[in-house]
Symmetry: C2
Amino acid sequence: MSDLFTRTVFFVSDGTGITAETLGHSLLAQFPNTRFHQVRMPFVDDVDKARDCARQIVDSERNTGLRPIVFSSLVNPEAIAALREARDSALFLDLFERFIEPLEIELGQHQSHEIGRFHGVAESNDYKKRIEAINFAMTHDDGVSTSEDLVTADVILVGVSRSGKTPTSLYLAMQFGVKAANYPLIPEDFERNKLPGELHSFRGKLFGLTIAPERLSQIRQERRPNSHYASLENCQYEIEAAQKLMRRENIRWLDSTAKSIEEISATIMQNVRTEADF
Amino acid sequence: MSDLFTRTVFFVSDGTGITAETLGHSLLAQFPNTRFHQVRMPFVDDVDKARDCARQIVDSERNTGLRPIVFSSLVNPEAIAALREARDSALFLDLFERFIEPLEIELGQHQSHEIGRFHGVAESNDYKKRIEAINFAMTHDDGVSTSEDLVTADVILVGVSRSGKTPTSLYLAMQFGVKAANYPLIPEDFERNKLPGELHSFRGKLFGLTIAPERLSQIRQERRPNSHYASLENCQYEIEAAQKLMRRENIRWLDSTAKSIEEISATIMQNVRTEADF
């Protein structure tokens, strides 16, 4: 039975390979009983490199006795032809081949055949916005913001320490170009049962993260073992107080416990904006 | 001519929609003469939500007079059927449909039909590694590392201030789960023409970033206008000295000037590792 063996997967791209890898991972996740060994082959932007990939694919079949799976996003027709010299040794899944033709028909245009346009556009406004947003997230982490800074934020995340605010801010910046500041809710806020003063004028931008106390305690233990900060009792107190505060202040929030930063970010984006032009 | 108008693109997913969006952007970048308006529809995980999407797609065609393009990564067959009620109003490109069948045949298994397995696995080791790497990048930014910290780094980026080290470290962490510390090269290093002392034992992990002086000056001007720091003269001096130092110390480096953080990171990954299991 082939599913008892590790299957080799090649991601071949003339750019970074990130598109091929993202789609490949999503597809292969539908086959949880198979283990995969991935080989990244980015920047395959000429015929020689494509031919070299073809050789490695043929070798892989020979060495493992199993046909590798090849996700390819090459756009240069000669490079594609060179890669296809290995066609008898692998299952080829070409990301562009399947979709470009219907798009050409629908849009009444031919594809440009330009390599890696999406990932290559370091000069584009979209890209500049992402880098600015990353810098913003870095400099407005952990409550380090003045009111003037917060005016330019798209989102302000609030929640207790270690509820997932920092990685979420960075992901929002990197993936969506969204400027996210974040603010910890701390015992002083709970005692007053009020938001930090700076946040009062920005209610529309606030988004809360909460987390199960058990999980929070576990995360904090890794950081400061056996501290009051990490104790389950304190985590229960902080979470309860934070939720009470967010409810009182009418802040939208979600539970990050079993969610990835991708899921948290996609949920926040639904509240920020769902449309964009490109 | 349809390409004079903005085309609406729907990204419909039962998970975050990031896979559909990534592939969609790569494909549509092949049609640079068309402007696209994107609508994200994540978390479409039941028939009702899929039916609601179908309605929005039909409305979009009616309102714009142009068939929208729909990238869908739904896996639930009933939800797919409900979405397809809009089939006459749009071009449907289904990410899974085209590729799952050949994979089922190749692997001798049926797909699991589990929703968003890749992005949903907040509990997986792979995911934990990414979050750890993000925390590592945050706490080891800008030279804030001891030798003990650097032992656990996968990569240490070096380069002058604003050469792209910080966003690259974060991207390496987020996308690849790679722990990247970064170290600025500063005038004191150039005067001594030596690496910062902490780095000597970690030569194998060092990767340099350089940048065109004009571009560096431009970036620094935005940060500190009219400063010596941002002057073209100083940028030329620093870049020249940094390159001299990296050459002397035999550090691999690349020019980040016209590269995105995706491209820089994919290049660094070729030097770190190209293979992984999942």
